[in-house]
Subunit: 339 residues, 5 copies
Amino acid sequence: MTIIYQYKVATTSLGGFVKLLAAWRGSVYKLMFKEMMIFGGAYTLISITYRLGLSLEQKLIFEKIVQHCDTYTSLIPVSFVLGFYVSFVVKRWWEQFMNVPWPDRTLFIMNTYLHSDDDRARIMRRTVARYMLLSLIIITRSVSVAVMKRFPSTDHIIQAGFATKEEIEIFENTKCKYNKFWVPLMWANNILVQARRERKIENDFGLRMIIEQLATFRDKCSLCFVYDWITIPLVYTQVATLAVYIFFATCLLGRQYLDPNKGYPGYDLDLYIPLFTMLQFFFYMGWLKVAEQLINPFGEDDDDYEINWLLDRHTEVAFSLVDQCYGKYPGLVQDKFWN
Amino acid sequence: MTIIYQYKVATTSLGGFVKLLAAWRGSVYKLMFKEMMIFGGAYTLISITYRLGLSLEQKLIFEKIVQHCDTYTSLIPVSFVLGFYVSFVVKRWWEQFMNVPWPDRTLFIMNTYLHSDDDRARIMRRTVARYMLLSLIIITRSVSVAVMKRFPSTDHIIQAGFATKEEIEIFENTKCKYNKFWVPLMWANNILVQARRERKIENDFGLRMIIEQLATFRDKCSLCFVYDWITIPLVYTQVATLAVYIFFATCLLGRQYLDPNKGYPGYDLDLYIPLFTMLQFFFYMGWLKVAEQLINPFGEDDDDYEINWLLDRHTEVAFSLVDQCYGKYPGLVQDKFWN
Amino acid sequence: MTIIYQYKVATTSLGGFVKLLAAWRGSVYKLMFKEMMIFGGAYTLISITYRLGLSLEQKLIFEKIVQHCDTYTSLIPVSFVLGFYVSFVVKRWWEQFMNVPWPDRTLFIMNTYLHSDDDRARIMRRTVARYMLLSLIIITRSVSVAVMKRFPSTDHIIQAGFATKEEIEIFENTKCKYNKFWVPLMWANNILVQARRERKIENDFGLRMIIEQLATFRDKCSLCFVYDWITIPLVYTQVATLAVYIFFATCLLGRQYLDPNKGYPGYDLDLYIPLFTMLQFFFYMGWLKVAEQLINPFGEDDDDYEINWLLDRHTEVAFSLVDQCYGKYPGLVQDKFWN
Amino acid sequence: MTIIYQYKVATTSLGGFVKLLAAWRGSVYKLMFKEMMIFGGAYTLISITYRLGLSLEQKLIFEKIVQHCDTYTSLIPVSFVLGFYVSFVVKRWWEQFMNVPWPDRTLFIMNTYLHSDDDRARIMRRTVARYMLLSLIIITRSVSVAVMKRFPSTDHIIQAGFATKEEIEIFENTKCKYNKFWVPLMWANNILVQARRERKIENDFGLRMIIEQLATFRDKCSLCFVYDWITIPLVYTQVATLAVYIFFATCLLGRQYLDPNKGYPGYDLDLYIPLFTMLQFFFYMGWLKVAEQLINPFGEDDDDYEINWLLDRHTEVAFSLVDQCYGKYPGLVQDKFWN
Amino acid sequence: MTIIYQYKVATTSLGGFVKLLAAWRGSVYKLMFKEMMIFGGAYTLISITYRLGLSLEQKLIFEKIVQHCDTYTSLIPVSFVLGFYVSFVVKRWWEQFMNVPWPDRTLFIMNTYLHSDDDRARIMRRTVARYMLLSLIIITRSVSVAVMKRFPSTDHIIQAGFATKEEIEIFENTKCKYNKFWVPLMWANNILVQARRERKIENDFGLRMIIEQLATFRDKCSLCFVYDWITIPLVYTQVATLAVYIFFATCLLGRQYLDPNKGYPGYDLDLYIPLFTMLQFFFYMGWLKVAEQLINPFGEDDDDYEINWLLDRHTEVAFSLVDQCYGKYPGLVQDKFWN
């Protein structure tokens, strides 16, 4: 579920974002808890080995290696890679959401033009709405794990009422080995053409406007597929990930506290716990986790889009719009501002 | 209220932005005043403890910790995280404002096509305008604290004249558990269809053009909701906030002035007041405050959008446009440049 | 006036941008001349005081302060703040210009559809053009100092021929306490409706296309107002400005040359004039001046948009387009490439 | 083939992106394997020469050069150049993909308007679809090596069934020495005009809507050509490449391990293998490889667009859409949510 | 001419971009050859003077200055300024190209609607195409040096066949002291209106669609002018240029090799040739050259847009499209995939 937190920060106040640091669901802590444990464990292991397990000579070599590593950690351009990479991922994540299709506009306009109060017209209106939802389910099933879990088979779609058995059969008989999400939209298109023939859509303007919106809905479904097909190039993700992981692998050695008695410059304090390295771990790993969470927004992370919620919303709004709200409006009266 | 300051800097002059530094309303000082006090207090407390409260041996350990902290403050990539994060927040803030719906275009075009001077046509024009305002109020109530305070209940909306009691009843009887901001727009749609039937809208072009604009208005209302629903991922905000807060927590220790007599390198001056750290506090914390203020632009910060002002403006302009300006124009005369 | 310099750099050549460094109008030198003087003066004053006015002991303290300041100047992230801030300002500046409305497209399309050679049709065409210019003047008056200076009162608008006395009266009698730039466009709209009734616009396509463009023109006028109303958040500007000013305040002390005989490391040269600090002043302050100049592009800076020039251009082109060019074309002949 | 990996990271989990590091196809390792070998070989060669092949005096000079180089490697702003350059390349890569034309929308709308079940109408629908595919093939042949390999001559296009011999002849007889990808689209246009004349397209709305989409398809084909014609300026690519290559050329010397016995500061450890330099090689070279792979997305890299797959998909979907799905829809029944 | 190099890097391979480093035309070497010579010369001159021309005492002062300069070169934020500045220039360069008008879409649609095979209709179609080209020439003449060289006077335009003498006369008699590129488009507009009157354009849809495209073509011509009129603010360019030039002026002194015998730290090697400074020169100056080359893409640089080539292409395609391809299509046959 998307984490909604903006009400907590609606008005800038003392502390401001501090409140947000205490959240757990969808938080950076929850996301990195385990990584942190592993990193801490490895660090401790090395630290104990150094303190207890090494001979004097081995210690000397170890100390040289630590100092060597420490020098080089700063050579890895983690900030730069992450800054540009995460920036790109976040931008893409938002565009992807903006392209999730909403049926509202099409149905709003269909209400303007597909008239008549008889059952046939009502079925037409409802069926067009239903086919739009069906297409949306078919396409989101192919990109979202959560929707796939909800509708693991076409039977589940039938049971949920989004398609009849007959429709699924026709759908499956359509010969095309590529994603067929557009088939129900083609049916909706043909129904609208029929409605025009039966004069339920009274003029060509009407047909044109509905079809235009329907085609745009189809395009957006198609974009869902495209965003899923063409991801951020693997190399880019690998480079950013490698930067972070190798940085911390280096830190495992380079940030060890050495015996202050040896008098190495900068090593006159033994804190046992590498507080600042842990904090750096938080920033860099947390930054990378931002990318990790957003790169596939259709997963089941705390902060992923709730496609299932959206499907429920679309279903209820769609039928309410085309059915309950069709053709009705309150009595026309003079308003309070009149003259 | 939005802070308007560009007239002060319309023309580049000596000092330029310096004038802006003296502002208080919406200023960085006002926003960070309290944080600064807390930071300053904590710093002073530690400083006094060090100077007066510690034994010689404790001082030695304290001094080592201070130097250790000082080394590590530079490891936290505050600038990078903030640069990219704030850049993203600011971009989103502007897009969000650009998507706040304005009724002007729809009404401008309705005036072109919905004719007749009789009362019924006038009521129709006014009602469409009113329903647009009503939808805007319903959607902004759900995202803006300020609008919610102005219209805490539907009764307040009725009292303000944006809806009649009957309308609110119909609205509340519409079965749909999701945000129903679109219901009044559906009414407006149906009224326009009726106006076409009564030949008040003389041709299909007219109906089409008004409906198209109305649907776009609906889309923008919907976007208001979407921007509110899908916020910047919590993790990203947490990472940026953590970077800044931990940086300054580290500074509390790392920037302490040590006894110059001890001869630590770089500590030969005791200024008591950490001027430069305070200044850094200003930049980084101020930078974060930019994000804090813009992440929810519908709050009640000094610099948030004034949705209430916008509602007043829309109300007055809408009725003036559809009523007072309908069908009128000055006499056609030859202009001054004629031949 | 906008500084046009691209012809000087049309072709990359030896020196390239070097030529541009010699420009004065709109140049970084002109913009920062005074700031530079003040900074130089203050620096000299401090320098002289140190050399001549301080006792030996005071000098010692002063020298410590200078070294302390020198260390900390590098802690202020001026580059980062400025990089992101200026980048945002420049992007906004260009978008703002792209949204200044041009009447050309509307008039081009009106010529296609509003026919008849009689005086009434000609007056109609000219009046629509004139009302567009009038709206543009009203809106730009409210955002641009230069236009306000040109038309300090409505009388000046009448005198310049953009409105008649009668029109200004009707305008002022329109009850609406918000910006009424849209009123003349509403008149233009009503005139076009009238033209359609009189069959001067021969079909509904024509009316629709002109109205659509007129509405877009109105939207862009509205955007002029919005860009002026919602500026870059004051906090952001303050943070960037503070970064630069405090950086240089610190430099006033931190970049002083100390007596080389004292043997402080890095202070073995006394150049009297802090050349590199002056150069840094140029970059950072110049960078900030970019923002200062672009944040309100409707001012009277050397490099601001010339709205007045644009108004003159629009006036001449508009009347030439709707009048002189209406319905005329050279004789149709076979062109040179024929067969 | 595009590397699809987002399912592996759909849900953030322990390790997260770590899984991706193990991939080989399309991976950074595969891309840089050879460069790494060469770099490693050269480094080893120099290292051996220094250890075994140089006299004592030569060693001394060599050691000075190494230290000198080491100081200067940090002067090369690789991160900055790469950050901005790769960011630009990635943005362009995505835009380029977004502009690859898809025939779906045009055909979806053609189905709404081009009616009749007879063979002639069916041929018309199929031929318009086929001509769209033909244009797509012609344009992609000119930009993509993979498509050129699939259709090395027009005979191959004929054989694959996308054109008849007669059509290719007419195509080749069209006098125009520039890319003629638009010729088949012009034919499609003319066929649609003919269909309108024969009343197969029943009204002008229909013709208009199909032509509009067809023209947009043409524009996108044209953009394919433009993106290919105007590439990222060579200078920019050269600057980024030079930065990386010279950085590593410098590292070949500057990162050599010197004899610890000489007591040079920072050289008290001899690891033989320059682990950190190898890691840096991975980041920077990998970062550059991102650009290298995306600058021409129509090549045959592991991660390039699969234009051939897209052509197959378009072919199958196009014919299925215009033929199998034309005019059909399941029986209209009351849905499960009815009342 | 645009440098096309993407085929060389279509597939990532060993070396990858290395091939590009060997190019000369449009290369960074060619662009900076002379600057490099001057820089090298000045450096050598100073170096020789130091080694041979100074007394011992002068040498001492010189050495101090060199060390002083060396410290300060790092204070100049060249990377930051250049990164953001070049990023902005490159983005603008691409947008500018995307806004160069292409006549194809207008003519494609005109072919759909402007019918009849007689000579008058043919002349009409050709003349509209010709007027579009004429407008394009007039506007590009005013922004591109190359086009101005090709058509230094209107006589050259007549001779090239894009206008008749009569047309140029009418054009020049149009009273308007601003750029009149829109006049031929107004003629084209009027011809189309005439064509509609003569029923050569059969319905209002046709006229509307062509005019819409023509108006968009006009807008893009207008944008050519706007991009040329409002350039990147001079101050921004100056700041970036100053950063680079002053950086290298500082390097002339700061990067001199000092006598190793003096034992200055970091000066124990005398290489005579400042290899790394030369390389830095390449990056920074090359980076600036990217901006220099793209800031006016209508010049005559190796990598500027070839407007003349584009004009030739448009001419040939335009006439081929409206004439040779008008109304023709191959015989309608069943395709290979037919059942």
